[in-house]
């Protein structure tokens, strides 16, 4: 069962990578990176249990944290550089400096 799960996880990692390569917009890539991080957490947890690695949970836990921080950081900084891109009529939010 664990092996089947690992295979499924690997397959989905490959698929996510495809999206990360192709992804037309930056957000597709952010999404792909975020998913990839979660998949990595899972692979470490499942693989660590299956192969008997020591203290694999610590690494998995750390990944879960870092992944979140990374995603938020990407979004914040992307917003900080984006305004030149967004055409005014399309972004009906408030105008940004």
């Amino acid at each position: 069962m664990l092996v089947a799960t690992l295979i499924a996880l690997f397959l989905s990692m490959v698929l996510i990578l495809l999206r990360a390569f192709a992804g037309p917009s930056v957000y597709d890539r952010v999404l792909a990176v975020n998913m990839f991080g979660t998949k990595t957490v899972l692979v470490i947890a499942v693989g660590g249990y299956a192969l008997g690695w020591t203290s694999y949970v610590d690494v998995a836990l750390l990944y879960a944290m870092i992944n979140f921080i990374g995603t938020i950081a990407v979004l914040r900084f992307f917003e900080a550089t984006a305004p030149e891109q967004a055409t005014p009529d399309e972004s009906n939010g408030e105008p940004r400096p």
């Binding site: 690997f10 990692m13 490959v14 990578l17 990360a20 390569f21 992804g23 930056v26 890539r29 952010v30 792909a32 990176v33 990839f36 991080g37 990595t40 692979v43 470490i44 693989g47 660590g48 690695w53 020591t54 203290s55 694999y56 610590d58 690494v59 836990l61 750390l62 990944y63 944290m65 870092i66 992944n67 979140f68 921080i69 990374g70 938020i72 950081a73 990407v74 914040r76 900084f77 992307f78 917003e79 900080a80 550089t81 939010g93 408030e94 940004r96 400096p97």
Partner: protein, 315 residues
């Protein structure tokens, strides 16, 4: 398998022109590297790579991209010469590797010199089950002192180059509403992250972890705080001046531990002098030294992040 994925990511990163995408692929690349390290028994290294590669270095690259613009200019360039050079070097290296000991060989020269001694004597001499920590802080304490000073110096160099300008907040985006969810989630999570960093710091003697990792995680927690709540709040929590003092204090702790053992008639950084019982002394010394490393790494990484994020974008 993992390695082929790594290759694919590296080559894709090379071809993209949007630097944001490049940085993100670099993040994936480092996640893959860390997975690979886990597979090769290097738990501590995977730990560090996870915290540094996927977290801090991505954030720093993004912070720099905010300042220099995100698109690479298209350029006409003849790739032939670099390609030839690269292929030639690669071929030479692969040829040179044909004599290398096979992967996983227990009798390779790298395995037979000092490592067996560390593994057999380390736990008895230092009282720590985690040999990596023991070697890092005690047997190769000089190296680590050097590395800590390098990190500190790098922090100073960044400050010299970018200056400690007063915070110019990244303008707030969208309405308060947009941020509310992030804020609540982050407020709930940050204490856990900081607590976890402390756990990594003080549990590093027994499991994976140690000063370097803990410092990076602590800094990452603070960076999250900064990202979600804004610069001004973060500056209220911890100021630049305090940070630089903390960084110096870390190096100082490390150096003074060495000096103490020198003054009590032992070689520099020989922790046996710290207590009556040598094993106890070693343990104490490693704890103190790791604390120094953790302090320095934390404050320098945070300081570097401050320097990048506070800088105004010039047109």
């Amino acid at each position: 398998m993992l390695l082929s994925l790594l290759l694919a990511v590296a080559i894709a990163a090379l071809r993209l022109r949007d630097l944001f995408a490049v940085v993100m692929l670099f993040g994936i690349y480092s996640l893959l590297t860390a997975l690979f390290f886990m597979d090769l028994d290097a738990v501590d290294v995977a730990f560090t790579e996870a915290a540094v590669g996927a977290g801090v270095s991505t954030i720093l690259l993004l912070a720099a991209l905010r300042l220099v613009g995100r698109y690479e200019k298209p350029h006409r360039h003849n790739p032939l010469l670099p390609l030839v050079v690269v292929c030639a070097t690669g071929a030479a290296l692969i040829y040179g590797l044909s004599d290398a000991p096979r992967f996983g060989d227990a009798n390779a020269p790298a395995q037979t010199h000092v490592a067996p001694r560390y593994l057999s004597e380390g736990p008895a001499e230092t009282g720590l089950p985690n040999v990596v920590t023991a070697v890092l802080a005690s047997y190769r304490g000089f190296d680590t002192l050097g590395e800590t000073v390098v990190v500190f110096t790098a922090g100073l160099a960044v400050l010299l180059l970018l200056g400690m300008s007063s915070p110019s907040p990244i303008p707030d985006f969208g309405s308060e509403d947009d941020q509310r969810m992030q804020r609540h989630a982050a407020k709930g999570l940050i204490p856990f992250i900081l607590l976890y960093a402390l756990y990594v710091q003080f549990h590093g003697d027994f499991g994976a972890g140690g000063g370097f990792q803990a410092g990076v995680i602590f800094a990452a927690g603070l960076v999250l705080y900064d990202l979600v709540l804004g610069h001004l709040h973060t500056r209220q929590v911890i100021q630049d001046g305090l940070l630089i003092r903390l960084g110096a204090l870390g190096v100082l702790i490390y150096g003074c531990v060495g000096l103490y053992s020198l003054l009590s008639g032992q070689p520099y950084l020989d922790y046996s002098a710290l207590a009556k019982d040598p094993v106890h002394g070693q343990h104490l010394g490693i704890l103190l030294v790791e604390l120094g490393v953790g302090l320095t790494v934390f404050s320098i990484i945070t300081l570097i992040y401050y320097a990048f994020s506070a800088r105004r974008v010039k047109a």
